[in-house]
Every structure is written in structure tokens, then in C-alpha cells.
Assembly symmetry: C2
Homo-oligomer: 167 residues x 2
Amino acid sequence: MKLTTKGRYAVTAMLDLSLHYGEGPITLADIAQRQGISLSYLEQLFSRLRKKSLVASVRGPGGGYSLGRDADEIYVGEVISAVDENIDTTRCNGAYNCHNNERCLTHELWSDLSSQIYNYLNKISLQDLMDRKTVREVAARQDHSNQEEVSGLEVTLADEPSDLAGA
Amino acid sequence: MKLTTKGRYAVTAMLDLSLHYGEGPITLADIAQRQGISLSYLEQLFSRLRKKSLVASVRGPGGGYSLGRDADEIYVGEVISAVDENIDTTRCNGAYNCHNNERCLTHELWSDLSSQIYNYLNKISLQDLMDRKTVREVAARQDHSNQEEVSGLEVTLADEPSDLAGA
DNA sequence: TACATTCCCAAGCAAAATAGTCAAGATTTC
DNA sequence: GAAATCTTGACTATTTTGCTTGGGAATGTA
């Protein structure tokens, strides 16, 4: 199991998609703007999500993406697996001869752990996430600020004072 | 939580140390050879393990490392935390303003997950690992093959046919 | 048909992280 | 004092990440 921002981006985007389900296809441009993820990067992620049938796409004007299944049938673990290819550990992925043609000492431990994490993540559906109060609150705020941002063409982000609170 | 080979190396080395506990201080050179980890890399890892008092060191000839506590009081999670500094997620680690000065949608999910994994790993002690049958078996083999390897200076690993089984 | 909008895809690239090397030193034992 | 061992820091190579660029292909609309 690998846990990187890549997987987080994917889950965030899928959650965004779920929250706007029922509004017809959602464009990646919308998601990119709402979630602050680069459009091209999203395209790469969604390419993999589509290959795993987690999303369905419609081309052309008015097109976009929608969920491949209902939100309560898509699990976080699936999303992460889809974008983070080698879900296994990097060195001895599945191989029994990690070291000196034998299993490495902790081989079993890591496979145990991987499946443990995987189990945990595969119990959480996108619907579960949507049901969370904090998620709904943030989503509502995002939809509002989105409407404001749409009018202005681009937000200037030259040197945002991100660490004012610190020090 | 971050799960990389770095953490795996650390746990493997600590497990090796546990298995040879009672034989006096163990040198990193021994561990490096048994577990196939570069000595200098081990040095870096053990530097961090020592700072967290997970190991104790004795310098000079006959010196080496020993466990900082009993094997049933050292948990896998601690070992991983010790070497993998930023145990938190990379982007919005702890910050509440991941995106647009708000919490990102999945912020809560990731902190939940992190603590979940951490809990799991902090229930497994080095002693637990040693009690596993497969670990004891591999360890026994390693001790044997180690004695053989000591006589030959270096194993030639020019082009090992690692993918014969494939295709 | 033209064209704008959207998905699709592949190559490349900078920054960061990972895994490892190298070199110099500090302690201790013999 | 010499050898063994830990200790430390700087340096390097490789991989991964996050992102850009630049082109397509499909499709709805005028």
C-alpha cells in the first residue's frame, strides 16, 4: 500500500464528483477549480480511474465525467489503487525471494499491513464520506466561493502570505 | 503516515537486532550483511533510532547496538515514526487551510486513516514479530547462510535472471 | 461544414524524496 | 597507538511526484 498525495487528489476529485452528481456530467475544469488541482494532472488521474470503470466520460460540449457506479458502491481503497499503480511494497512486491532467494524477515508483516489498510479503506464508500458533516460544510463553502471565482477570470496568486499565522 | 522501504528497512533491522539479543552488542556490519542493507544507510537509520532511544549503542571494538527496551515494549509504529520523519500527509499536514484557506475536502479522511494505521502498527511489538513462525524460520536460515557467506568475500550479482518465470 | 468544447494521450521536466556513497571524526578496547 | 566500532555530515544517483505542453479525437451547436 502506498499513501501519497496522488491518491488523496484522486479521492478528493471523486468526492467532488459525487457531491455534484445529478447535475449531469462534470467537467474536469470545474473540479480543478473547486479543488485547486491542476487540470492536466486531473486528466492523468481520471484516465486511470476510467480504465478501472470508476468514472464514465462523455465527450464534446456539455460533456464531462460522472461516477461509474453509485457513490455507495465506490470505495476509497479502489480509488487509491487505481491511481497508485504499485499498491504493493516497492522492493519485494509479491516476490518470495526478496533477499538471498528467501523471504525477507518482515515480508509477512508488510503484506499483513497492506491488506489491513486496504480493508479499512475498502469499507469507506464515497457515500460515507459525503455523509460526514464536515465534508458537507466544506462542499457548501466551495460551491459558494466557486461562483465568485467564476466571475473574475483568474485569481492572482503571486506571493500569497501563507505563513502569516506562523512565527 | 508514510509507508516506504525506509521504514521497512528500519523494522527489519530492529527485528534482526531483537533476534540476536542476548549475544551482546550487534554491529551494524552484521545486520547489513544478514539483511542485505547498505551499511551506511543503516547508520543513518540507527542514528534516528538512537535519538528516539529505540536502540542503545556501545562504541569501540566489541561494541555495537542493542535494543533500547525489551522487545515486547518496542512497537513497529514507533520504529517507522522514528525514521520516517513526516508521519503526516505531505500537503495539508495538520494545517487547516489546505486549499482556499479552508480544510480540503478529504482532510478529515486522511487524518482518520493515519491514526488508524498508526494504531494498528503500535499494537505489534518486535516480540510479536519474533513469535511468528515464519520469522523464526527465515531467521534460522539467515544465520546459517551467513556463516557460509562470511568465507566467500562477495557474491557476484552481475545479471541475475530475475524474470525467467515471467513471459 | 465550421467550430468550440470537452475528453484523451504521450512526452517531457523541475522539484522533492528515496536510497545509497564517501569521507572524516569520536570512543573505546586491546 | 592501532583497530574496531559508532557518529556525523555532505554529497550523489535514481525514482517519484506534480505539473506543463502540445497535440489529438469525439461531439454538440450554429
